[in-house]
Amino acid sequence: MSEMTEAAIPKLAPQRRAPLEIGVDRVWRFFCSVRAAVWEVALLTVLVLIGTLRGSEVPQWIADLVPPLQGFVDRWYRWDVFHSLPFAFILGLLAVAIMICTLNRAPAMWISIAEPTIATTSGFLNSAELQLRSTEPANREEVVNDLRAALEASHYRVLTAERNGDTHVYADRYRYGKLGTFPFHLALILVLVGGIVGSRYGFREKSFIVAEGASQDVGHNTGLSVQLVDFQDTYTELGQAHEYRSDLVISRDGNVVKRGSITVNHPISYRSTVIYQSSFGPAMQLRVTDAAGAPVYEGSVPLGVDLFAKGNSDAPAGKLDLLSQNTTLFVIGPDSDPANAPELDKLNLQSGQMYLEIHDLQNPGSEGRALTLEQGVPATVNGLTYTFLRESEWSGMQISHNPGIPIFWAAALMLIGGLAVVFYFPHRRIRGIVTGGEQATALVAPMARRDWSARRTFEQFAERMNERFPGEWTLTAREDGLQFDGYAADTAT
């Protein structure tokens, strides 16, 4: 090297990089940066907090404490954070960062697993906070073999290399554990993918109301219809709801394909369409006939789905359009909680009574004819005869078809599995050098800077070495290194 003169070294011309290359490089570095990822996750956390508080009384408490903030709080309540652009942007940013970071880290990580650097330096070993030394010089091969045997007995993979007459030792265990970071991070992307697939290619009916005896088409090109054969609600002795059960018949293109019951937590499915028990309420069975006695309508009118008597939200109401008669019917049932604000119950209906208002279909706001129906007693208005047959119930269901669910379940497995592998199978590494020939000694140290558990693992290995080769190996801790006083001084029993 000393013969090499300055003239012999070819001068490299400074390479000019294209602005595009510089830009791509910077973007790539940004997405690979853990520091940037931390800030992105932190920002996401803040948005989640804002969205969470929006569903609570906390913002209003703030406004009550500081009245000038009422306008700000109102805007807070109006802002649907989780469906906002900033939230989607941060999620997208994180998804891109995860993908780029994965691509960036994978090759180097694989090399560190498959072909780790075996050689180390005496500087690293001498500056290590924990050092294990052999105190009985012996033949180098013998020392290496002893060390290898002890490490392999502790389930380490041992690799050796000869350098300048010394033997360098590299040992590790759970080397594949750090790969767990990939399924974990990719699972986060899959959760998003599952959500997008579900909303793009699936459907969800949140309020699918069917009265007892009635049938309703599911729609969404499924060809399915659901008939509610029977609905039962049971209560405990204390009046607490115990179970809501709907007995259903599912038909496809007019053919019955499935029968079964649903309760809350126990849905029924036909192929990929799932039907859930959600809510229930009262209904009235009504018969309408024309002047000749021909049936115009016979069926149920659900009450209280989203309609209540004017001024009394305890009195459930329903609406029925009789298209052939150009008539709209508004039906009101008895007050469900007469003890609550009795002054609002102007109709004062009793069990077995229904209030009926008959309007023109084209002009439902116009003044109509009103009457109170007694159960089983027909009443005739404008040539149509109305008979309140009996009280019944309606069942509120949710119907969903979500093709994103398998993706979500796979993501959940990857997420939990990845975390378990990363945390419970940490990569442990030990390096060492065996120097000398016939009078060889070894110096071994863990790669465990500021990692208390890794050092403890190494201590345990040192204890096993001492059991295996009594008095031949000594563990030393550097003065300025880790203090084990807390652990050693006070061992709980």
């Binding site: 931390v38 969470t52 569903g55 405990t236 799932v274 859930y276 969903s400 997420l415 203090q483 709980a492």
Partner: protein
Amino acid sequence: MEGLVKFSFYCFTAATLALTGSAICYILFSLGRIRVRRTALAMPGGPTMSATVTEFGESPAGFGRFATMLLWFTVFFAGISVLTRCIAAGRGPYSNMYEFSLGFVFAITLIYALFERWYGIRQLGAIVVPVALGMAAYVWSLPSDLREVDSLIPALQNQPLMTAHVSSAIFAYATFAVSFAGAVLFLINENRRVAWLPSPEMLDDIAFRAVTIGFPLLAMVLVLGSIWAYRAWGTYWSWDPKETSALFTWLIYAVYLHTRTLRGWRGRRSAIILLFGFGAVIFTYYGNYFFGGLHAYGGV
């Protein structure tokens, strides 16, 4: 069954008494001993001078041993209380805040007791055990009618999922309480000012190990909750405040785990994030008081 419910409550009473004693002993043990001595100094000229010398040191080990013994009493009685409540109710005791908090007292004391054995230090108990005592005090503050066993409302009638979902939450929160204690003691003893406290490296490791248990458990809470939500409500995620609050907590711990790999963040800053994390745990835990939404039935 009524007898079992009463027995469960008596066991909880015994657990509370043991917990109170344990908390006092852990605090006394961790505060250390202050010894003031008067000494006489002989001056070269002949006269003597008296001076007082204050010495700080470790508390007698007896406090620590007694604290640990009482802690295991607490674990035993709280465990029996939860078990008998399970038998009486015929299900996991997680239908209201009384039962949930009972489980939390058991989980937090058990998890801490195990950490104490693993790491061989007792000083963490001065933080964790008072947190458990606060939870026990909260249980006592609840209306007494919550102590009766009620049948589950239809939305909660999925025993395997309810037990797994809520148990995961309780144990996740318990491990986060341990990480919180590790962070607090780390901040106190960051510069090794208090000789009888564990080393900052060990405290940092305890806090980290606790999070490595709690973080996957909280992920399990979110996953199991999603599975349950899909079976009960037809959608695995509803942006319900309780759901998003748990997600918020999980994200804080995700930030913590990432900061540990950053230069300048590991140590003090990471410990401060853990304080925020446990604040989020408390916020989520008591969220039923001020959240609306699908989890509103879980309140008192």
